[in-house]
């Protein structure tokens, strides 16, 4: 999920159609972009992760214009021939192997364009490029570069002047001292050498994915751009380059190819030809429940800027633009057809599917137990499954045992999965120490215990009831617990139990079918002290039978 800001006037100009703000907001929502805020100056929009091409106003306008009917059909992106070359040595293969490049000339660097391209680069880096690890973009002033450019892995003691600095630093020091080095150094930090893009005169372009150099940076006087995308995944670097280049082309830029020479192969990028796919009209109607023909479906796809025409055997032949990354299966074309058709034009219809509903048996048992506790005047509470080991063991006065616990939690209070309920109930009573007494509370909830199951854990449901008031004593809670078990038809026996959370000789275990099913007693004053509770507490806890 990425939020972008676009200049409203700019957006409407690129779409080529004006409309009042409320219509704009509605149309954006029905197109599939969430309008967080729409004003006559600026729009704050949420773009979904499957459309990284819409992270810039150019890409957004391109597809949105089709939705509102202002434009239609496939945009041909021409890549002109050139002599620009980038040489890739073998040294980057195990470090950051993929690189693709492009040249875009005659770019008018207006404020809108610069803002848009910078935001596109930033948002792509953050989302689709997985924080620059998978791919990263470099943009440079073409006229400051003498070709051929070399992409290689350089020694950490090589130095150049990084962006925003007034002196040269070694590559190693850039990772330590430059803000971008600190943010993204982790991507290459443990490598023996670092990626470097350098021209034939020794002018450094950048150390991907970290930072550009001051010497080849884009300024207000820049007329022509050189772009590179480096990364670990071939598909991703190509897609990212295409998205960037198409946005610039939509603004009037002229695109030139760059020959990238790897040791084993030579490619020319960007590769902006469409790729072909097809979808059957029967499949479209089957999935969507509509009754449209292939010609109508093709028109809808053209509005989404595909090239589409009805072919043989009810198939629709589709050409997919180079900036689209999300078409994996014909179903992705079906969704685009549905969006263009208009979700609000699709008539909901409830089918006749006769099935009988049913619940898990434990829910019926839980409901009975809850009813009985309420009947005894108890207020239900709901607490978190995640708690701390201090809560579960130390504060309850018992020895620590192994429980399911998390690795990367952000809080020291919530990281261990509860295996019993009473500690949380004690927490509830502490939180309510200023409220009126008597206080009678219960919780029926799931606890997690370790087991040898496939997930190493088991979910068990437990019930815990507790009473707190000046006259709270063992007899009181025993009456409640026994009444509960009697009503559930659970034949039970109560035996003396020694449990450190409870007062010695005022604690019992509940035996059902010869096994320990729970316990009850007067909570030990040391435990009350640990929880900062000043009122006596009596409690019982049982495992809920399935």
């Amino acid at each position: 999920m990425a939020l972008i800001n676009v200049n409203t006037k700019d957006l409407l100009k690129l779409i080529g159609k004006s409309m009042p703000l409320d219509r704009l907001e509605h149309n954006l929502a029905m197109f599939g972009v969430v309008p967080e805020r729409v004003t006559d100056k600026e729009c704050e929009l949420e773009v979904f992760p499957n459309r990284p091409d819409m992270l810039s106003v150019e890409g957004l306008a391109r597809s949105f214009a089709g939705f509102i009917g202002a434009k239609r059909g496939y945009i041909e992106y021409e890549v002109h021939n050139s002599d620009y070359e980038v040489e890739v040595g073998g040294s980057t293969k195990d470090i950051r192997p993929e690189i693709v490049c492009a040249v875009v000339k005659n770019v008018k660097l207006t404020d809108e364009l610069v803002t848009s391209i910078m935001q596109l680069q930033e948002k792509l880096h953050l989302t689709y490029c997985r924080k620059r690890a998978k791919a990263s973009i470099g943009i440079y002033d073409l006229d400051s570069i003498i070709f051929p450019v070399t992409y290689k892995a350089e020694k950490p003691d090589f130095s150049f002047m990084p962006l925003d600095f007034k002196r040269k630093l070694t590559l190693k020091d850039i990772l330590k001292e430059h803000p971008k080095g600190r943010d993204y150094g982790w991507i290459i930090g443990n490598m023996p050498r670092y990626p470097l893009l350098i021209d034939s005169k020794g002018t450094v372009l950048s150390m991907p994915p970290i930072i550009n150099s001051e010497e080849s940076k884009v300024t207000e006087r820049t007329k022509n751009l050189f772009i590179d995308v480096t990364g670990t995944d071939k598909k991703t670097v190509n897609e990212v380059l295409n998205i960037l280049v198409c946005a610039l082309a939509d603004r009037g830029g002229k695109v030139f190819g760059v020959k990238v020479s790897y040791p084993a192969k030579k490619i020319t990028t960007p590769q902006l030809e469409p790729w072909k796919n097809r979808v059957s009209i029967d499949y479209v109607n089957q999935v969507l429940g509509l009754d449209i023909n292939a010609k109508e479906a093709a028109i809808l796809l053209e509005r989404m800027r595909f090239n589409a025409s009805p072919g043989k055997d009810g198939m629709i032949e589709v050409e997919i633009p180079p900036y689209r990354t999300d078409i994996m299966h014909p179903i992705d074309l079906v969704e685009d057809i549905a969006i263009m058709y208009g979700y609000d034009n699709i008539e909901p219809y409830l089918p006749e599917v006769a099935t009988i509903g049913s619940e898990k048996p434990i829910e019926a048992t839980t409901r009975k137990l809850r009813e009985l506790m309420i009947g005894s005047g108890y207020q239900e509470v709901i607490t978190y499954v995640l708690t701390s080991k201090e809560n579960l063991f130390k504060k309850m006065g018992i020895k620590e045992e192994a429980v399911a616990e998390t690795l990367n939690h952000k809080s020291e209070e919530y990281y261990a999965c509860r295996n019993w309920l009473l500690p949380n109930i004690m927490g509830v009573l502490y939180a309510n120490r200023h409220n009126a007494f008597p206080q009678k509370v219960f919780e029926i909830g799931d606890c997690i215990t370790l087991s040898s199951d496939e997930t190493g854990t088991k979910v068990t449901r437990r019930l815990c009831g507790a009473e707190s008031h000046e006259k709270a004593n063992l007899t009181g809670i025993k009456s409640v617990a026994e009444e509960l078990l009697r009503n559930m038809g659970m034949k039970h026996e109560i035996r003396q139990l020694s449990h450190p959370s409870f007062i010695e000789t005022r604690c019992g275990e509940i035996i059902i079918n010869g096994k320990r099913a729970g316990f009850l007693g007067e909570v030990h004053p040391q435990v009350l002290n640990n929880f900062n509770i000043e009122m006596p507490v009596v409690a019982f806890e049982i495992e809920v039978p399935i």
């Binding site: 599939g32 992760p49 997985r130 998978k134 995944d233 598909k235 089957q286 999935v287 969507l288 429940g289 509509l290 994996m328 299966h329 014909p330 179903i331 992705d332 969704e335 549905a338 979700y343 219809y349 409830l350 089918p351 599917v353 099935t355 009988i356 509903g357 049913s358 619940e359 506790m373 009947g375 108890y378 207020q379 239900e380 509470v381 709901i382 978190y384 499954v385 995640l386 399911a404 998390t406 690795l407 990367n408 809080s411 919530y414 999965c417 939180a431 309510n432 200023h434 009126a436 206080q439 509370v441 799931d446 370790l450 199951d453 496939e454 997930t455 190493g456 854990t457 979910v459 000046e470």
Partner: protein, 410 residues
Amino acid sequence: MYVLTKEGKDYLDNGLPEKRLLHVLRAGKKAVSGLNPIAVGWAKKNGWIRIEAGYAELTQEGREMVGRKTNMEIALEDVSKGEKVDQKIISVLLSRKLVQEEGAEAEEVSEITQLTPSMIAGGKWKGVPFRPYDIKAPAPEVWPGKKHFFTQAIEHIRKVWLEMGFTEMSGPMVETAFWNFDALYQPQDHPARDMADTFYMKNPRTGKIPAAIASRVKEMHESGDDIDSTGWQYKWSSEVAKQLCLRTHSTSLSARTLASLKPEDLPAKFFSIGKVFRNEVLDWKHLFEFFQTDGIVVDENVNFRHLLGYLRRFLDKMGYKKVRFRPSYFPYTEPSVEMEVYIPEKKSWMELGGAGMFRPEVVKPLLGKEIPVLAWGPGLERLIMEAYALKDIRDVYSNNLAILRRTRMW
């Protein structure tokens, strides 16, 4: 010889009203209009409270009295044990009708306050006027046992699912990444699988995954297997899939259920309601643990219009008459939908949650065939916050008895 009256016995068991008042005021001052007038009167007389601008507040004396037994309470105990009590205190107890002389029930009364069994049986009520009670005098608040308001909401949602013919699914909370992510076609480098967003487990660390299904899921991620898909085109790792985490959505249960279905089980409809976990820092808008509900319809013959039909009916049963659908995105559904409902009181639309049709890449490895699966699941905390006008999401789990006791039924 004196004995306790019924009222006297009640006060002995539960405390004098003016004493209970002290507990109520411990937390802070309260409006007099909401308090027991008898308690207020006696507490004021004893110098335990002061009243200012309609509010009653504990004095230092009152605060000190909280843990201690009052003279009256000791006297009531003595009377109940048949011991002698100071005559001055007895007069007070008599005037408060907390004690009476033994056999005094047989006495004539000029005015009846409390009707007693012997009066009813012996006819002593005939011709004797009843002491008028002020019907407007505030009665003390009582708190019946009650479901937590969240449980009430869950029970309501449960009913909606059952009435629509859905069968419940349940399953592990600690789940392998396989069922939580991989089986739902979420690639292994997807941001949602980040350490920042998901709770990974330290103990236990890894789990087991079903070999046959895992190999089909691997093929699907890597190359789109034998359906018309490109797949994600990366190398899938079974080690990553075995990592255990706290489930981030209940859709993991839908995946497990799909994998367990046989052709003769269709058409089938399943729902789940359960806790899910996200590695968030607790604040007014975010919880690390919350409830989610999920429903799936598995049927050869269902389509997108049917999904919208189900959603409209489901939302209608939830109480939302005006709803709309707009395009959305989830990694495992295509097409995807966001449900919005109209809140008349606020005159605005509220997002309720996502829905969609499971991608063929999800369904094929689990079910063996590309069969349409409709799916939807609103988040519950938002519903609750809307229904109870809560501003801070943590209030849902504050378990503040003052609030729980007073919250209206769902």
